[in-house]
């Protein structure tokens, strides 16, 4: 039972990150019908921004409570990556609007190859260490041990999902976003600025991916240029299994995937861990070809 709960806890923090990255995939796909292969590289960019600014920020804010450098690093990563996202939107997504779904797919594959190899040229192919912004505290509750970083990752992920959910449901721009996702022609004829909605969507998706990247960077303590591939593929699957419509659905599937993977790695074998997500995907696509909670249009 102790081991079971332990794996459960380990799974939650990873699963929550899958959900955060999957959220950005889902948002961009819903609004623009673009399968953004560069999305995992936004996540990678977040980890590297944490690597670059982590040390200096930590030095500059010595003596202040650890929440200050944490927020600064998060903001820098989110804003920096959102800027890259906006550039990609302007240069790649906008000119290709209205083409078949395959065209932006290939174009973003090019962007992804570019970003990943740029990181490799600048930072080298080997893992780099990310400075521990939080001094590690280990908690033990009822035989289950976890660190404050794990706790933080889970809390931040849930907060992001709640915020984005509020943004989409409760704000004016969020309503405009949903309108464009539903029927962009009618939204446009009602006066919605489609370009602005596209920019907002890409910025939100890139920023959330970057914050997910900072969280995972702190969790693992290091990053490589290819970190996006593993997390990216899993979270893409997570978005497909959940369907792109419901943020809560993505959250549930992300957590379930993370927990199942941790359990299988703990009880069966870690080499079968990757089989779960793809097996699940095939099953869902065959039995419910719109995702569990509906709609890839």
């Amino acid at each position: 039972m102790g081991q079971f709960l332990q794996q459960l806890v380990n799974g939650v923090s990873i699963g929550a990150t899958y959900a955060v990255v999957a959220l950005g995939f889902g948002l961009v796909f819903s609004v623009m019908r673009v399968i953004n292969l560069a999305h995992p590289d936004f996540f990678m960019l977040g980890t590297y921004l944490a690597f670059v600014v982590g040390g200096p920020v930590l030095a500059a804010t010595a003596g202040l409570p650890p929440i200050v450098p944490l927020v600064v690093v998060g903001l820098v990563a989110a804003l920096g990556t959102a800027a890259v996202g906006l550039t990609v939107e302007r240069l790649v997504f906008r000119p290709l609007r209205g083409t078949n779904v395959l065209i932006p797919f290939i174009a973003t594959a090019g962007v992804s190859i570019f970003l990943e190899n740029s990181a490799q040229v600048i930072f080298g192919p080997d893992p780099v260490g990310i400075s521990a912004i939080l001094p590690t505290v280990v908690y033990t509750v009822g035989g289950v041990t976890f660190t404050n970083t794990q706790l933080l990752v889970a809390v931040v992920a849930i907060a992001i999902l709640a915020l984005v959910s509020y943004y989409v449901r409760g704000t004016r721009w969020g309503m405009a976003t949903r309108a464009v996702a539903e029927r962009s022609l009618i939204a446009a004829s009602c006066g919605v600025d489609i370009d602005r909605v596209a920019q907002l969507t890409v910025a939100v998706s890139a920023a959330t991916a970057a914050i997910g990247g900072v969280a995972v960077g702190l969790l693992l303590g290091s990053t490589t240029p290819t970190i996006g591939l593993t997390f990216g593929a899993k979270s893409f699957v997570c978005m497909l299994v959940a369907g792109n419509r419901h943020i809560e659905g993505i959250m549930v599937v992300g957590l379930a995937l993370g927990i199942t993977e941790a359990l299988v790695a703990g009880y069966v074998s870690s080499s079968y861990r990757d089989a779960i997500s793809y097996g699940l995907l095939i099953a869902v696509l065959v039995l419910r070809p719109r995702g569990l909670f509906g709609s890839y249009e």
């Binding site: 083409t99 078949n100 174009a107 090019g110 962007v111 022609l185």
Partner: protein, 302 residues
């Protein structure tokens, strides 16, 4: 086997040659409107089977190639049957999941090396045989273009409902062309295994499939020689960029993105991928491509 080319260039051209065979496999498979993200997996399955036959069973290359092609054909038919009734996007996602699942299986099968890769494959691929095979495949593709099956596939791609109303057996055509393409990809994969002499499960993965899709789109998806041209150009061009691997791919990524934006129809294509001639201008304005088929389906939940 002495050529006018240096050993380095021979190696690059062999790589381009089997890449072109696999890309032409995509041409067949996608000719009826499918979009396969599993061709690296088909190529890898062909590679694994042929490599096991030559290495462990002592078969000569020829029969091993035939066996590899047969495996590709059978698994291609299987995947086509699963995806037959799905809409295009979902079916391509299913091929993606299929490829990923095959990769995991290969990783966890100790007999074919598992995570350590299958090594010790005899070097049986040579330059002339690869290009002879490529020539045959291209000839077949050219004949296919003008054949009953090829025309039926084009009809399915342009408008499935109209094609079926005209008496085209849509299901059979889609399964047949997909299986043929998977077999052709397996042929390329078997050549690859006997050239790089290691067959690893990573070669079956998603990004390798995307790479073949890039060849296919770059050259022009629906002309029979476009994909092969794309593979040849995109394998040879990076060699002229005299940098380290990572720097080379930075430029490759930039060029690829720029090219797709400037010429979404590919190098030799006449109309954008996946859109029949006369695709709607209105769709282009609002960010959705609506083909004739969508209009037929009418309003409501798509």
């Amino acid at each position: 086997m002495d050529l006018f080319l240096s050993a380095t260039w021979q190696a690059i051209l062999i790589e381009a040659g089997y890449g072109a065979i696999i890309a032409t496999g995509l041409y067949f498979s996608n000719s009826a409107g499918a979009l396969s993200v599993a061709h690296a997996a088909f190529a890898g399955m062909g590679g694994y089977l042929a490599a096991v036959l030559t290495t462990n069973m002592g078969w000569p290359l020829g029969p091993a190639l035939v066996a590899g092609v047969a495996l590709g054909f059978v698994s291609g038919s299987f995947l086509a049957l699963i995806t037959l009734r799905m809409d295009p996007l979902v079916s391509s996602l299913t091929t993606l999941a299929f490829g990923a699942a095959i990769t995991v299986v290969a990783f966890n099968t100790p007999y074919i090396g598992g995570a350590q890769s299958f090594s010790g494959i005899p070097p049986l691929t040579n330059f002339w045989e690869v290009y002879l095979a490529l020539a045959l495949v291209l000839f077949a593709a050219w004949r296919f273009d003008k054949s009953r099956l090829g025309m039926a596939a084009q009809a399915c791609r342009a408008n499935e409902i109209a094609a079926s109303a005209m008496g085209v057996p849509v299901g059979r055509v889609k399964v047949e062309v997909f299986a043929i393409g998977a077999g052709v990809a397996a042929l390329g994969g078997a050549f690859r295994a006997h050239f790089i002499l290691v067959q690893s499960a990573n070669d079956l993965g998603f990004w390798v499939s995307v790479n073949y899709l890039i060849f296919w789109v770059f050259g022009g998806s629906y002309s029979f020689w476009g994909p092969a041209a794309g593979a040849l150009i995109l394998t040879v061009v990076p060699e002229f960029l005299r940098f380290s691997d990572a720097e080379r791919f930075v430029i490759y990524g930039l060029l690829l993105t720029a090219f797709v934006i400037v010429r979404p129809q590919g190098l030799v294509g006449r109309w954008p991928t996946g859109v029949a001639p006369g695709g709607s201008k209105l769709g282009a304005l609002i960010g959705k491509s609506r083909s004739a088929r969508d209009h037929l389906r009418g309003p409501g939940r798509r």
